[in-house]
Amino acid sequence: MQISIDFDKCCGAGQCVLAAPDVFDQRDEDGIVVLLDDNPPADQAENVVQAAAVCPAAVIQVQL
């Protein structure tokens, strides 16, 4: 799995962290997404795809 993020468009909603807390976090100061693991294990696939789907700024791209 490969994850890429358009950080400039991130709006800091944190929906990705709720969906996949092992893969995403947010910066303290502005809530911009922090990618904890850009190639997480396969058992995270469902959570990561969900995170990409609910991201309100559509900034998460996943290649399975």
Binding site: K9, C11, G12, A13, G14, Q15, V17, L18, Q26, R27, D28, D30, G31, V49, Q50, A53, V54, C55, P56, A57, A58
Partner: protein, 401 residues
């Protein structure tokens, strides 16, 4: 997928909710034909930036697209963009489009969203704006470029954000709202007052507690507004941000129940093979037992996915939609985020930070239970309160200490 899953699925509305439905369907393995019908001619695009980065000129229009063309192509849709749905026949299972064609379906999703409310008689008047579509935002941006006086009617999300952007572009701005404070409906008076101070500091004039009577024109173009208290305000442009109304007129006569939006059960099912998602959906909230209709960006995505799953499961096996609403607003250097529903709150308690610091978390309570958590410039910390909102946990006296 159950054996009886509908084969042909039509989704009316090609914005965030509609896109989420079709992506969800493909993700869940639906192989059958999907038709995505949209009144606007654009590929699905994002609306929150319209009153923020697009209006300010920070972003160009191509950044609004929710998916690139290859991603849309990969979904294998029958795309009917620039084609408004005008009627629905739930017996024949057929949608009539404005171009005279029909789309047959086995399951239908209504994701037609809302449109901006206007002041009577202002439609098509040059200089009078609403802010809902890309074209609306571009037209307003063009008017703001002359750096004249903008009068904003309405102190909600759209009005407050546009006022902030217009000041940044060098316009003179007056915001008029019938509430006691800007965004008072969503934030209450205490946080609304903080926001008012921020707008004042940036040079926005704010008239609260007053209704706008009508837009004045001169030579056919907007020249100001008259207020209910007898005063008039001159303006070079007027932005009307007084809320939105569900696009449901095309369902008249279809048998689909329409009130404040499309009336659905807890699973977003409206009966007769019709589902709804996004701004237009009014569903029975399984937790509160109340009908909810929510015009938030994240709600559109979440409901779209839920409807996709429920369509494939079928009405009998569909599961209730359950989520904590989330919305945000950017104004100047303030990021305001809301989990839950603040409306109807009878108590507001600042539990971290303060309005003076403009960095805070406030819990909103209704009948002693937490109904919302609002953060100002405390993005990461706010997330920790979401569970309390989800559980409608008791808002204990003195928990602010």
């Amino acid at each position: 997928m159950s054996a009886a899953a509908p084969s042909r699925i039509a989704v009316v509305g090609a914005s965030a909710a509609g896109l989420s439905v079709v992506e969800g369907l493909r993700r869940e393995g639906h192989p059958g034909p999907i038709t995505l019908i949209g009144e606007e001619s654009h590929l699905p695009y994002d609306r929150p930036p319209l009153s923020k980065q697009l209006l300010s000129g920070e972003w160009s229009t191509d950044r609004l697209l929710l998916r690139g063309e290859p991603d849309i192509d990969a979904l294998g849709l029958q795309l009917r963009l620039g084609t408004k749905a005008i009627a629905l026949d739930t017996k024949a299972r057929e949608v009539a489009l404005a171009d005279g064609t029909f789309v047959e379906y086995d399951a239908l999703v209504v994701a037609t969203g809302t449109r901006a409310r206007r002041l009577p008689g202002t439609e098509g008047v040059p200089g009078v704006h609403v802010l809902r579509t890309l074209e609306d935002a571009l037209a307003l941006r063009e008017d703001l470029a002359s750096e004249g006086h903008l009068v904003v009617v309405g102190g909600g999300f759209v009005g407050a954000e546009a006022a902030a952007v217009a000041r940044g572009l060098g316009c003179e701005v007056t915001l008029v709202t019938d509430t006691a404070q800007p965004m008072g409906d969503a934030l209450g008076d205490e946080l609304g007052a903080m926001l008012r101070t921020a707008h004042h500091e940036h040079g926005v004039r704010i008239e609260t507690g007053v209704l706008v009577d009508q837009v004045l024109t001169d030579g056919g173009r907007a020249s100001g507004v008259s207020l209910r208290d007898g005063r008039t305000l001159a303006a070079d442009a007027v932005l009307v941000g007084i809320g939105a109304q569900p696009n449901t007129e095309w369902l008249t006569g279809s048998g689909v129940a329409v009130g404040n939006g499309v009336e659905c059960d807890a699973t977003l099912y409206a009966g007769s093979g019709v589902w709804a998602a996004g701004d237009v959906a009014c569903w029975l909230n399984a937790r509160t037992g109340e009908p909810w209709r929510i015009e938030h960006r994240t709600n559109a995505a979440e409901q779209g996915l839920a409807v996709a799953r429920n369509i494939l499961a079928g009405p009998e096996r569909a599961t209730p939609f359950d989520s904590v609403p989330y919305v945000w607003s950017d104004q100047y250097d303030l990021k305001i985020q809301i989990y839950g529903r603040t409306r109807g709150a009878d108590e507001v308690r600042v539990v971290e930070g303060s309005t003076a610091e403009r960095r805070l978390i406030a819990l909103y309570g209704r009948n002693g239970r937490t109904c919302a958590a609002v953060g100002v410039n405390m993005v990461r910390a706010l997330r920790g309160y979401r569970a309390q909102v989800a559980a409608a946990a008791p808002l204990l006296t003195g928990s602010a200490a």
